[in-house]
C-alpha cells in the first residue's frame, strides 16, 4: 500500500510538470506566436504609457527576452526554491513556492491563491456534503421504488437539476429568496472569519446541480447492484431489507459514485467559477476569471496550476480509497 501511494505521488508530480509545461506554453508561447511582443508583456506590468527604460527594466526583471525554455525553467525553479526580483530600487524576496507576481496588483500570485483557497474550499465542501447526502439517498429510494410516482417525480426534478446551470438557479434564488422575500441575507463571504452559513444559497444552488447528477447515478448503480446474486444471497440469509439495501447494495454501488465525486470535488476546488461569479464570492474561480479578463498571465497560470493540483490530488485520493473500499483492488 505504501509503495502504491509513493508510486502514485511520483506520478502525480510528473503529471503536474507536464501540465505546467503545457499551460506555460499556452499562455506564453501562443501570444508570442500571435504577435505579442515582450514589450507588450512588460507594458501590461508597467501600467499606462511607460518609458523605454522602465520597460527594459521590467523585461530584464522577468526575463521576457530569454528563450522560452529558460523562462519555463526559471518558473519551475522559483516554485521549488523561491526567487528574488530586482526592481532596480529594491530587491523583493519571493519565497518558495514562488509563482511570480501579478501584472496588475504586483502581489505575489501564491499569496493571492492562499487567500482565495479557503473560500473556494468552503463553497465546495459545504455543497459536496449536501449533494452527496441528498443525491445518494434520493437515488437509493428511487431505485427501490422504481416506476412509482416518487421515482418519476424525483427523476424529473433530477433532470431539471442537471439541465439548470448555477447562473440560472443562482440568479433566480437571489432575486426571490434574498431580494423579494428576504428569507436569507445577501451572500457576503470574504474569508474563514465570516459566518459560513452566509454561503447557504450558493451551497444549495451548487448542490442542486450535482445532487441531481448523483441521484441519477446512484439510482442506476443501485438498480444494477440489487440484481446481483449476492443481494439474493443476503436475502436468503434472512437479513432485514434495510441491511440488504444499505450494507450489501449501497456499499457495492458506492465505488463508481466515489470516483465521480473525487473528480467533481477536485474540479470545484480549483475554482467554482460560475458560482463565485454569480454570488460575487472572491474565491479561486474569481481570481482566475479576473486574471483572464485582465490578461494577467502569472495569475492565470497560477490558478490553472492550482486547479490541476487539486484534480490530481483528488484522483490520487480516489485511487487510494478504491483500495480501501474494494478488497479486490487491494490484493491485485
Amino acid at each position: 500500500m505504501v509503495a502504491f501511494i509513493v508510486r502514485r505521488l511520483l506520478g502525480a508530480v510528473g503529471l503536474l510538470l507536464i501540465i505546467s509545461a503545457v499551460t506555460f506554453s499556452i499562455f506564453f508561447l501562443v501570444p508570442r506566436a500571435a504577435g505579442v511582443s515582450s514589450d507588450d508583456l512588460a507594458g501590461r506590468f508597467a501600467g499606462k504609457q511607460p518609458d523605454a527604460v522602465t520597460l527594459a527594466a521590467i523585461k530584464d526583471r522577468f526575463g521576457f527576452d530569454d528563450p522560452i525554455p529558460v523562462q519555463y525553467g526559471k518558473y519551475i525553479k522559483a516554485i521549488v526554491v523561491g526567487d528574488t526580483y530586482d526592481t532596480g530600487t529594491e530587491k523583493i524576496d519571493c519565497p518558495a513556492p514562488c509563482m511570480g507576481y501579478s501584472f496588475r496588483t504586483n502581489q505575489p500570485v501564491f499569496d493571492q491563491i492562499v487567500d482565495r483557497t479557503p473560500i473556494t474550499l468552503m463553497i465546495a465542501l459545504g455543497a459536496a456534503v449536501m449533494w452527496v447526502l441528498a443525491g445518494v439517498s434520493i437515488g437509493v429510494l428511487s431505485a427501490l421504488r422504481r416506476g412509482t410516482i416518487f421515482d418519476r417525480m424525483a427523476m424529473a426534478v433530477a433532470l431539471a437539476g442537471v439541465s439548470l446551470p448555477v447562473f440560472f438557479t443562482g440568479l433566480l434564488s437571489l432575486a426571490f429568496v434574498v431580494h423579494k422575500w428576504e428569507l436569507l441575507p445577501e451572500v457576503n463571504y470574504g474569508g474563514l472569519g465570516d459566518n459560513p452559513f452566509n454561503l447557504l444559497l450558493p451551497w444549495i444552488c451548487l448542490a442542486f446541480l450535482y445532487a441531481a447528477l448523483y441521484a441519477r447515478l446512484t439510482r442506476a448503480g443501485m438498480l444494477e447492484t440489487m440484481n446481483e446474486d449476492y443481494i439474493r444471497t443476503a436475502r436468503a440469509k434472512g437479513l432485514s431489507e434495510k441491511t440488504v439495501v444499505v450494507k450489501h447494495g449501497l456499499r457495492a454501488s458506492l465505488t463508481p459514485i466515489m470516483t465521480v465525486f473525487g473528480l467533481d470535488l477536485g474540479l470545484l476546488l480549483g475554482g467554482a467559477i460560475i458560482t463565485e461569479k454569480t454570488f460575487s464570492i472572491p474565491g479561486l474561480g474569481q481570481l482566475a476569471l479576473d486574471g483572464v479578463n485582465q490578461s494577467d498571465l502569472p495569475v492565470v497560470l497560477g490558478a490553472t496550476m492550482v486547479a490541476a493540483l487539486f484534480i490530481v490530488l483528488a484522483n490520487l485520493v480516489v485511487d487510494i480509497l478504491y483500495g480501501v473500499v474494494d478488497p479486490r483492488v487491494r490484493h491485485s
Binding site: E228, D229, Y230, R232, T233, A234, R235, A236, K237, G238, L239, S240, E241, H248, R251, A252, V325, D326, P327, R328, H331
Partner: protein
C-alpha cells in the same frame, strides 16, 4: 427409511384445491399446486404452473430439467425470494406446519437462513465481494442467533473447518476472491448451514466446479445431511448428481411436473418421453463412442405461449401415438404405479413397450 417411494405424498386433485381447509400436512415440506407467474410486457410468464411435491426430513429430492423449466424459480419461491411486486405466487407451501405463500414477508424472512437455507449456483457472484468470507458467515449466524461477534466468529471458523477448509482460523479473514472455486462453494455451504437449517436447497451446487471437486462437494452435502438430518432439494440438470444423492426425482418441463418418482423407478422404468430424452442425452463411458447420444430435438417452449396440449408435444418423437390428444388436451399428472407419477397421454402399456424395446437397449 427403506421406503423410497413418494407414494402417499400427494392427496387427490380434489383435496388439493381445498387450500387452508385441508390444514397442515404431516410431511415436513409440502408444496401444493404452486404457481409462480410473472406479468411482463410480452405477456404472462408462467414459470411454475401447478407444481406439487413432498419432502421429509433426512431425505433428498432431485429436481431436474432444462434451463428455464422452472427449477430455480421454484426454489426461490419456497424461500420467498421473489419480488412480491412483479411475481404472482399462488398455491401452498407448507414448511413444518407453517404455510409460507400467504405469510407476511417478515415471517418468511425470519425462517430464511434459519429453518431453510440455500446454496447458490455460482459462489463467486453469490458472495459479496467486499466482505470477508468470515464476515458473511458471522452475519448469517448473528441474524438468527443473539450472540457476540466473538462467539459468532468462533462458530464461523468451526463451520469452515467442518466443510473442509484448511486452516480455517486464517482463511476466515480472506475475501471470496482469495478462495478457489471449490473453496468458495464450501464456504457458501458453510454459510448456508451456519444456522442448522432443516431444509436445504442446493441450486446446481456443483455446476461451476471441476469434476473432482464436484464429487467432494456432493460427499460433503451428504455427510452434512446425515449430521443435521436436513431435508434437501437438489436442483440440477445433471442426472448423475441426482442418481448419486437423491431419494426421489421430479422432472420438470415448461414449469410443470413431467414425471415424479423414486430415483430407481425414474432411472429404470421411466414413463415419460421427456425423461427418456434426458437419459438418452447423458454421455456414458461404458458405451462405444461410435454410438451417438440421443439428444432431444428442438428447444423448450416459451413460457408465455405454452402449447395448449402437452407442453412437450412439439418435441415428442411419439406424439403420433396419442390420437392427437396431446395437441388438444393437457395431460394430468397420474399415479401409474405406486409412488410413480407421470403426465403423458401415450397409453401406459405402449410406453412400457417403447422403453423396454426401443430406449433402454440404446442407453
Amino acid at each position: 427409511m427403506a421406503d423410497k417411494r413418494p407414494a402417499e405424498l400427494i392427496d387427490g386433485p380434489g383435496e388439493q384445491k381445498d387450500g387452508a381447509a385441508a390444514g397442515a400436512p404431516s410431511a415436513f415440506l409440502e408444496v401444493r399446486d404452486l404457481k409462480i407467474h410473472f406479468p411482463t410486457d410480452d405477456g404472462l410468464v408462467k414459470s411454475v404452473d401447478g407444481l406439487s411435491f413432498q419432502l421429509e426430513r433426512g431425505r433428498t429430492l432431485g429436481i431436474v430439467g432444462e434451463s428455464g423449466s422452472g427449477k430455480s424459480v421454484t426454489s426461490l419461491g419456497i424461500l420467498g425470494l421473489h419480488n412480491r411486486r412483479n411475481a404472482r405466487v399462488s398455491g401452498q407451501i407448507w414448511l413444518d406446519g407453517a404455510e409460507l405463500v400467504g405469510a407476511s414477508a417478515d415471517d418468511v424472512r425470519r425462517l430464511r437462513g434459519r429453518k431453510m437455507a440455500m446454496i447458490f449456483q455460482d459462489p463467486l457472484s453469490a458472495m459479496h465481494p467486499f466482505y470477508t468470507v468470515g464476515h458473511q458467515i458471522i452475519e448469517a449466524y448473528r441474524v438468527h442467533n443473539d450472540v457476540s461477534k466473538q462467539v459468532a466468529r468462533k462458530h464461523a471458523i468451526d463451520m469452515l473447518g467442518k466443510v473442509g477448509i484448511p486452516k480455517p482460523q486464517q482463511r476466515v479473514d480472506d475475501f471470496p476472491h482469495q478462495f478457489s472455486g471449490g473453496m468458495r462453494q464450501r464456504a457458501m455451504i458453510a454459510m448456508a448451514l451456519s444456522c442448522d437449517p432443516e431444509l436445504l436447497i442446493a441450486d446446481e451446487p456443483t455446476t461451476a466446479l471441476d469434476v473432482t471437486v464436484q464429487a467432494q462437494i456432493l460427499d460433503l452435502i451428504r455427510d452434512l445431511q446425515q449430521e443435521f438430518n436436513s431435508a434437501i432439494i437438489m436442483i440440477t440438470h445433471d442426472l448423475g448428481v441426482v442418481a448419486e444423492l437423491s431419494d426421489d426425482i421430479l422432472v420438470m418441463y415448461a414449469g410443470r411436473c413431467a414425471e415424479y418418482a423414486a430415483v430407481e423407478d425414474a432411472f429404470h422404468r421411466p414413463l415419460h418421453p421427456y425423461t427418456w430424452g434426458l437419459l438418452g442425452s447423458m454421455p456414458r463411458l461404458d458405451r462405444e463412442r461410435s454410438e451417438r447420444l440421443m439428444p432431444i430435438k428442438g428447444t423448450p417452449p416459451s413460457l408465455i405461449n405454452v402449447p395448449d396440449g402437452c407442453a412437450f408435444n412439439p418435441r415428442c418423437a411419439y406424439k403420433d401415438l396419442t390420437d392427437g390428444k396431446s395437441i388438444a388436451e393437457r395431460p394430468e399428472l397420474r399415479e401409474l404405479e405406486p409412488g410413480h407419477r407421470a403426465a403423458c397421454h401415450i397409453p401406459l402399456e405402449k410406453r412400457r413397450e417403447i422403453w423396454n424395446d426401443e430406449i433402454a437397449p440404446k442407453l
